[in-house]
């Protein structure tokens, strides 16, 4: 019998119905993957299961009995724990304090030692080296993810709802995550796993539910649905080749760097980006990919020589980079890319305001630019005056892309082009990047998604510990080769630089 299930659940927000008669059952000892494009209703389902929202119609059944959760904590008290994509951790408190937040051990005086010991035991179970005394604010994002999982374990979860847990993890950490999921499954926990990564769904899930536009369009058992089948079910049409065909880069270099260093982060990097090329940069999180990009465009101070079209340029800040024809699209869309509490127009033109008037900003010209960007980049906004924060992740990314392209750069560095966005938008962005290269622009793509780097790039550079450790091209661009280089495992394939 299933632990927790939704029976014929519908949900409306005002006049808009976001879920239509959804049936979903979580069985003990089973990983149930929930997939769908952004806006398909995954988060609404998670919120209903986790007690954060009530269904408009239908019922939630827990252990065979209909229930109505009063709140998230109420659901948690019954063993249903949600790990949100945005972490619920207090960054100034220690790991142990966070794990026991709200249910601290001890009475008036806290039992610090006991909480620390239990936290240490949990972390050990998770195979991490995180100290229970570390402050959350000092941990890396993947480590915070592990703390979230430890926190869920400490609550004796019977049902664990995970929202894109692997999105922020590196290759190795994803391995640990999968082990933990296997272990929890063996212990009889029911797991609902939301993900955009179809390869991991195929690997992990015992049962798959595909959502489209608030409806369940497909339910399948392990092995009954291929990755291709999942993608087709999600999008509702056949996907031809997911990645656009590769291009034909010119021999001359658009951008070349030699001996580039960002103190403490990047050491002695020399690279060449050819005209019309899409150059991938792979590497583990923390290998200095982002720092290299930020050093190139003047967001971090760097030393070494940078040449654009053969001419040496000095880039001390982002303005210099713009003048040299470089632009950078950040990996951190929400904290460095867009002003979430401002409108689309303000966001679009923020980096290029001087194009819209010397003294007075010409708002009509801005509106025109927005109209054009909305069309060129297929930004789907209900209302051009809406706030950027209210757009879906995919549309935010398109807006950010439009903003990055507004200075009309020749060389574009795109850091994590498709993090946390749905399959349909991913394809649009891939096609767009390819189009840029076909126009004779040059693109550097930094990505943690191995298939993305391989599928998109003409050539891939691999970084490890702040250095370029290898380059792969053509048939040598395989996941295996790149991972070996990124992890520092020597092998005969892939030429070491």
């Amino acid at each position: 019998m299933s632990i927790l299930s939704l029976q014929n659940v519908s949900k409306s927000f005002g006049p808009i119905q976001v879920l239509h008669n959804v049936d979903l059952a979580l069985e003990p000892g089973e990983v149930h993957a929930l997939i769908g494009e952004n806006g398909a209703g995954k988060s609404t389902i998670m919120k209903i299961l986790g007690g954060f929202l009530d269904p408009t119609e239908g019922q939630i059944v827990l252990d065979g009995q209909p229930v109505a959760f009063a709140s998230g904590p109420d659901a948690e008290a019954q063993g249903i724990v949600v790990i949100h994509q945005e972490f619920n951790l207090a960054s100034d408190l220690t790991v142990a304090a966070n794990v026991f937040l709200g249910r601290e051990l001890g009475g008036f005086r806290l039992k610090h030692a006991a909480m620390r010991e239990q936290t240490a035991a949990l972390l050990k179970r998770l195979n991490t080296k995180i100290s229970p005394d570390a402050k959350i604010g000092r941990l890396s994002v993947p480590d915070r993810q592990m703390v979230e999982i430890a926190k869920a374990l400490s609550r004796n979860a019977r049902v664990l709802i995970m929202d894109e847990p692997s999105a922020v993890l590196t290759h190795r950490e994803v391995g640990t995550l999968y082990e933990q999921i296997d272990r929890l499954r063996a212990e009889g926990v029911a797991i609902l796993y939301c993900s955009h990564r179809l390869d991991e769904v195929a690997h992990l899930a015992d049962r798959i539910t595909v959502l489209r536009d608030g409806r369940v369009v497909r339910q399948a058992l392990r092995g009954d649905l291929t990755e291709d089948g999942m993608a087709t079910a999600m999008v509702g049409r056949e996907l031809e080749d997911f990645y656009p065909p590769k291009g034909n880069p010119a021999p001359e270099a658009a951008l070349s760097a030699s001996g580039l260093a960002v103190p403490g982060r990047v050491h002695d990097v020399s690279l060449q980006l050819r005209k019309g090329e899409v150059l991938g940069i792979a590497g583990l999180v923390g290998s200095g990919r982002t720092e290299l990009a930020e050093g190139l465009v003047g967001l971090r101070s760097s030393t070494g020589e940078i040449r654009v079209n053969g001419k040496p340029v000095r880039i001390n800040n982002l303005r210099d980079a713009f003048s040299a024809g470089l632009a950078y699209l950040t990996e951190d869309r929400k904290e460095a890319g867009l002003l979430l509490d401002k409108g689309l127009r303000v966001n679009l033109t923020l980096a290029t305001l001087e194009k819209f008037g010397t003294w007075r900003i010409d708002s009509h010209a801005e509106d025109k630019a927005l109209a054009r960007a909305t069309q060129d980049f297929d930004i789907r906004a209900k209302d051009p005056n809406m706030l950027a924060g209210k757009l879906s992740g995919g549309n935010q990314q398109k807006l950010l892309l439009a903003k990055t392209m507004l200075p009309d750069p020749e060389i574009i560095i795109i850091d994590e082009p498709t993090r946390g966005i749905d399959v349909g938008t991913k394809r649009q962005i891939y096609a767009f990047i390819r189009k840029l290269a076909a126009e004779g622009r040059s693109v550097i793509v930094i990505s943690s998604e191995m298939t993305e780097v391989i599928g998109l790039s003409d050539r891939v550079l691999v970084m490890r510990e702040g250095r370029l450790v290898g380059e792969v091209e053509g048939d040598a661009m395989t996941e295996d080769n790149i991972v070996r280089l990124a992890m520092g495992v020597t092998s005969d394939s892939g030429k070491a630089a």
């Binding site: 967001l299 800040n317 982002l318 303005r319 980079a321 713009f322 950078y328 950040t330 951190d332 904290e335 460095a336 890319g337 867009l338 002003l339 979430l340 509490d341 401002k342 303000v346 923020l350 980096a351 305001l353 001087e354 008037g357 003294w359 007075r360 900003i361 708002s363 005056n385 903003k403």
Partner: protein
């Protein structure tokens, strides 16, 4: 968008309500003499508050403006008295004084701004410090007493506060010009857009090729300049400065900014809202003085209630947004 937005129109409605209330309570309220008086007295805080709107919108704060005004008034008077024997009792001396006030204001703003942007100290801490320093300096310069402008100069300088075009005195005119320029700058200039962007998220601003430190520094410079300008208009009013000049002006200016709908955490600036905020605060004072309804001693309490109320109304709007 078109529906009645209490958040934006609230302060204006409150202002109109206050005017009606004032007119009902006392017929002298709408007399030109009273209006002139209220507006002229609002002008000092108002000019400063326009500058404060930019500082707060960029995510900063300046607690030192009241003390800064007192200090600037002090050095202005000293400079004019010192120049008197050399230059004589004429506008030359007064222009020197005005120059000292404006230049002093810019330098004071520069000090605050550099400490905040270059030494990376919290604005609250920096300006709490300079607030004490400026206040102490003026008290020291006055030797605990009062610095007074020479009688002849005072007579010559007086019209800058009391004179004007018809019953509209110079402080009102200057305040109006500053308000219009301020609103325009916030709304239509690149600087204003950058200020809002920095207050909204300074990392996004930095990644959008905005020189965040420069813009922040400019907001403090602008505020210093405007404090200097307010001082130029204030000195002829009494012709003196002491350790108790401009006490609590910083809080009145901040209160006006907040009542006007600018977010204290930055990111959204409304200069015209600030102007309304200043007028609301002075009208409350004026009405309490004219009417016998409530003791004028409760002025501070009523202003306090208004400030808290303004913030509560802002918050209600925000939660309504999230639905």
């Amino acid at each position: 968008m078109k529906k009645f937005d209490f958040h934006i129109l609230g302060p204006l409605v409150a202002l109109i309500a206050l005017v009606i209330l004032g007119a009902l309570l006392n017929s002298a309220f709408l007399a030109p003499a009273n209006i002139t008086n209220v507006l002229a007295r609002s002008a000092f805080i108002g000019i400063i508050a326009v500058g404060m709107t930019f500082v707060i919108t960029a995510g900063g704060l300046d607690l030192s403006v009241g003390s800064m005004a007192a200090f600037l008034a002090g050095i202005t008077i000293i400079a004019m008295n010192a120049a008197l024997p050399e230059i004589g009792e004429n506008w030359g001396t007064i222009l020197i004084g005005m120059g000292v006030a404006i230049l002093g204001g810019i330098i004071a703003g520069l000090v605050n701004g550099l400490l905040i942007t270059q030494a990376r100290i919290e604005p609250f801490i920096v300006t709490l410090g300079t607030m004490g320093i400026f206040r102490s300096l003026v008290t020291w310069l006055a030797d605990g007493g009062t610095l007074s402008l020479e009688y002849g100069l005072r007579t010559l300088y007086r019209p800058v506060y009391y004179g004007g075009i018809g019953w509209i005195t110079w402080p009102i005119i200057v305040f109006a010009i500053i308000a219009v320029l301020g609103e325009w700058t916030m709304r239509h200039s690149r600087f204003g857009r950058h200020v809002e962007a920095i207050g909204s998220n300074d990392r996004v601003a930095r990644y959008s090729a905005i020189d965040v430190n420069r813009v922040k520094l400019l907001t403090y410079l602008l505020l210093g300049l405007l404090v200097g300008l307010a001082t130029v208009l204030y000195v002829p009013r009494l012709g003196s400065a002491s350790g108790s000049t401009g006490v609590l002006w910083e809080l009145e200016a901040i209160a006006a900014v907040i009542i006007g709908g600018t977010a204290l955490k930055g990111g959204r600036g409304r200069v015209w809202g600030t102007v309304i905020g200043v007028l609301i605060l002075s009208l409350i004072d004026n009405i309490l003085n004219l009417a016998d309804l409530v003791s004028p001693y409760l002025n501070g309490a009523i202003q306090g209630v208004i400030i808290v109320l303004a913030v509560v109304l802002q918050r209600e709007k925000r939660t309504a947004d999230e639905r």
